[in-house]
């Protein structure tokens, strides 16, 4: 699940990088159009003005938006993502995701800019907002600590009780999240016995969480025994890492 989260972060970064490439690519075309032959003014040139509107400003994916812009005192106009445009005009655009349209007009008296944001409502957006209540791994693991066990024991110690009650309060605050509790043991002892011990550990954590008011149906228990180790060195620090009940969001 941590990997999924990384993947999502990567997706966002990739999209951002792609849109930056797109925007910078368009800047290069600035030099292409011939300058608009406006009547030369001898007096100090007027400072240009620009306005840009979108109607409607929020659409569903696939719908189009009417962009309307006006300018005064300008000799050229460019909209990022569209390219050089007339000094005044309208056009239809169909953006595939939420876009900031950026109008830049240039005149003898300087430049002026105008912005409008078009919000595109993408169903099941691949860049899902991280506030979804179905569980965010980073937030979950920041709030919920794994339970660590004493050697050969499946009873929760004081620290374990604290972890379990923290987990329970997080779960009570986020009622849509379902979780798995993985039971793990250190590498010493028999593989079969350790799987049973891991089951007892995970169930002990479940019992503590259920007693703190979380519905048992939201919790799935899986014992991994010593088959999946967090740490593979042969010392007590490592073994303690491996004797745990691990909380994860059940997806």
């Amino acid at each position: 699940m941590i990997q999924q989260h990384t993947l999502r972060t990567r997706t966002i970064l990739t999209l951002a990088a792609a849109s930056m490439l797109l925007l910078s690519g368009c800047h290069k075309k600035d030099t292409a159009p011939p300058p608009y032959a406006a009547a030369p003014t001898v007096a100090s040139p007027a400072v240009p003005t620009a306005t840009l509107n979108a109607e409607p400003s929020a659409i569903d994916l696939g719908q189009s938006v009417v962009l309307t812009w006006r300018s005064t005192g300008a000799t050229s106009a460019v909209i990022d993502g569209i390219g050089p445009v007339n000094l005044n005009g309208t056009t239809n655009v169909t953006p595939s995701n939420s876009t900031n349209f950026h109008l830049v007009v240039k005149g003898d008296g300087g430049t002026a800019e105008a912005n409008v944001r078009v919000t595109v409502r993408v169903p099941m957006a691949p860049v899902a907002p991280t506030s979804s209540d179905l569980g965010d791994d980073a937030a979950f693991h920041a709030a919920v600590q794994d339970v660590f066990f004493d050697y050969d024991s499946y009873d929760l110690n004081a620290a374990g009780q604290t972890s379990a009650s923290q987990a329970a309060s997080y779960l009570n605050a986020h009622p849509n999240i379902k979780i798995t509790i993985g039971g793990y043991t250190d590498e010493r002892g028999s593989a079969e016995y350790n799987l049973a011990l891991g089951e007892n550990r995970a169930n002990a954590v479940k019992t503590a969480v259920v007693n703190a008011g979380v519905a048992a149906g939201r919790i799935r228990v899986i014992s991994f025994g010593k088959e999946k180790q967090f740490c593979t060195e042969q010392n007590e620090a490592c073994w303690q890492q491996n004797r745990r009940g691990q909380f994860n969001i059940d997806k």
Partner: protein, 446 residues
């Protein structure tokens, strides 16, 4: 080397171990069960002549046959096998060519001699084999057999195994040999664990399952038709069954919780540990997994059942009901529970085919910083007297009895460092069968 050094110490060690116990079982009586020979009695001295190659192109396969036959007779643990360097150069291929006087005297000094010929033609290998009693000049033949198989390494090995088993059955106290038996085990590689099988001598190892997950605790059914094991899926470990007849997975009902350590009874019933009720308990079900019924009910882990193969009416298993895991036995209805081990950390129990002994892994001084090692022990069920079978070779686990009750296969080392070793049930003759990454051996019923 270890074995040689330990041998003179053994009687002393055993005497020390047994001295404080009130009901003394004479230890040579136990040895009798393992080896088929009583203490003081000589083992049968037998020579295995090199076989005669019937055709020039069969020489290489004949050498395989000779090697495997010699190794099988040596492994059996019931013979005083004449060293190849002590026996005559002759390779008699037929009874007519056999001169028993050459084998009964001299350095060979054999009571019996096995000999014969190996030939191959048209892709088939043929073995004609005899065993002669060197002290019966008039009617020396004890055994005369013919075997045919494919003319390849496996065929030659198989014919040698069959002849060895015949000799062991005839001269080794009427108990069938184990040279044709198989050992199932777990092979770890690249984050997965698959079920593998090998011949009893470690040859011919190959994968059975290709499930791409973690599969453990293989147990072959008494008729060699199925393997039950426990496999990690989305819902944790579940019992799964592979058919060796259909060469594919077959259905076995899954249940909530962790389901593991299946064990077949001689009548085909299956016992296992399941935490479907929330706590790991021992269940017994029909061979297809139907009609599961719970037979233990105590807080804490209950795992690793093993049936008394002799009676089918008792189960030994591992329970953590009092803290650290200990060996217990009970009737199959859950009554008559007896704790067998008194201390330490005891796991992985296996019941001997004759019903008399339990083999298990035991760390008698278990605890953080404790000096103890985990070794294979053997306990007489009736008296609860025990002896230690391994020492100083590493952390030992998962003993499993051979069908003849004379051998125990076990794992040395744990996790990715595990290897599979075998030994005679008195702790002698230890040698490695499968390399690093092999774990949890299970010896077939026959």
């Amino acid at each position: 080397m270890t074995i040689c050094k330990r041998l003179p110490l053994r009687p002393l060690l055993l005497a020390l171990l047994l001295a404080p116990l009130a009901s003394l079982t004479p230890l040579h009586a136990q040895d009798n069960v393992f080896t088929g020979t009583n203490s003081g009695a000589d083992r049968v001295r037998i020579a295995a002549a090199d076989f005669k190659a019937g055709s020039p192109d069969s020489a290489a396969l004949k050498r395989t046959f000779d090697t495997v036959l010699f190794s099988d007779l040596g492994n059996a643990g019931v013979f005083d096998l004449v060293s190849k360097s002590m026996q005559p150069q002759a390779t008699p291929g037929t009874p007519q060519e056999m001169r028993v006087a050459d084998w009964s005297g001299g350095t060979a000094n054999a009571t019996f001699v096995a000999f014969g010929s190996f030939s191959s033609a048209g892709g088939r290998g043929t073995v004609n084999a005899w065993v002669f009693d060197t002290h019966n000049a008039q009617y020396p033949q004890v055994l005369g057999k013919q075997y045919t198989d494919t003319a390849d390494e496996n065929g030659a090995r198989m014919m040698a195994h069959k002849f060895a088993d015949e000799i062991i059955l005839r001269l080794g106290g009427g108990i069938p040999g184990i040279a044709e038996s198989k050992i199932y085990f777990v092979r770890a590689a690249a984050g997965t664990k698959e079920i593998w099988v090998m011949d009893y001598d470690g040859a011919n190892a190959h994968a059975v399952t290709h499930l791409g997950t973690i599969s453990i605790s293989p147990r072959v059914s008494p008729d060699n038709s199925r393997i039950a094991f426990s496999s990690l899926g989305n819902d944790g470990f579940q019992i799964r069954v592979y058919s060796l007849l259909l060469n594919r997975m077959v259905a076995f009902p899954s249940a909530g919780g962790t389901n593991l350590s299946p064990a077949w009874a001689a009548n085909g019933q299956i016992a296992f540990s399941s935490s479907r009720s929330g706590d790991p308990e021992i269940y017994i079900a029909d061979a297809n997994g139907n009609n599961p019924r719970r037979i233990t009910s105590s807080r804490g882990p209950d795992v690793s059942p093993t049936w008394n193969p002799k009676t089918g009416s008792q189960i030994a298993w591992i329970s953590g009901r009092t803290g650290l895991p200990q060996v217990y036995i009970m009737d199959t209805d859950g009554a008559g529970v007896q704790r067998m081990t008194d201390t330490g950390y005891a796991t992985s129990v296996s019941w001997s085919p004759n019903g008399q002994f339990l083999a298990f892994a035991w760390d008698r001084k278990y605890g953080p910083g404790a000096p103890g090692g985990q070794d294979i022990y053997l306990m007489d069920v009736a008296s609860k007297t025990w002896i230690q079978l391994t020492n100083g070779i590493g952390r030992c686990d998962f003993p499993s009895w051979s069908p003849d009750g004379r051998h125990v296969v076990f794992a040395v080392g744990s996790g990715a460092r595990a290897e599979i070793w075998t030994m005679l049930a008195d702790g002698t003759g230890k040698h490695r069968l499968a390399p690093t990454g092999s774990d949890m051996p299970n010896w077939s019923f026959r």
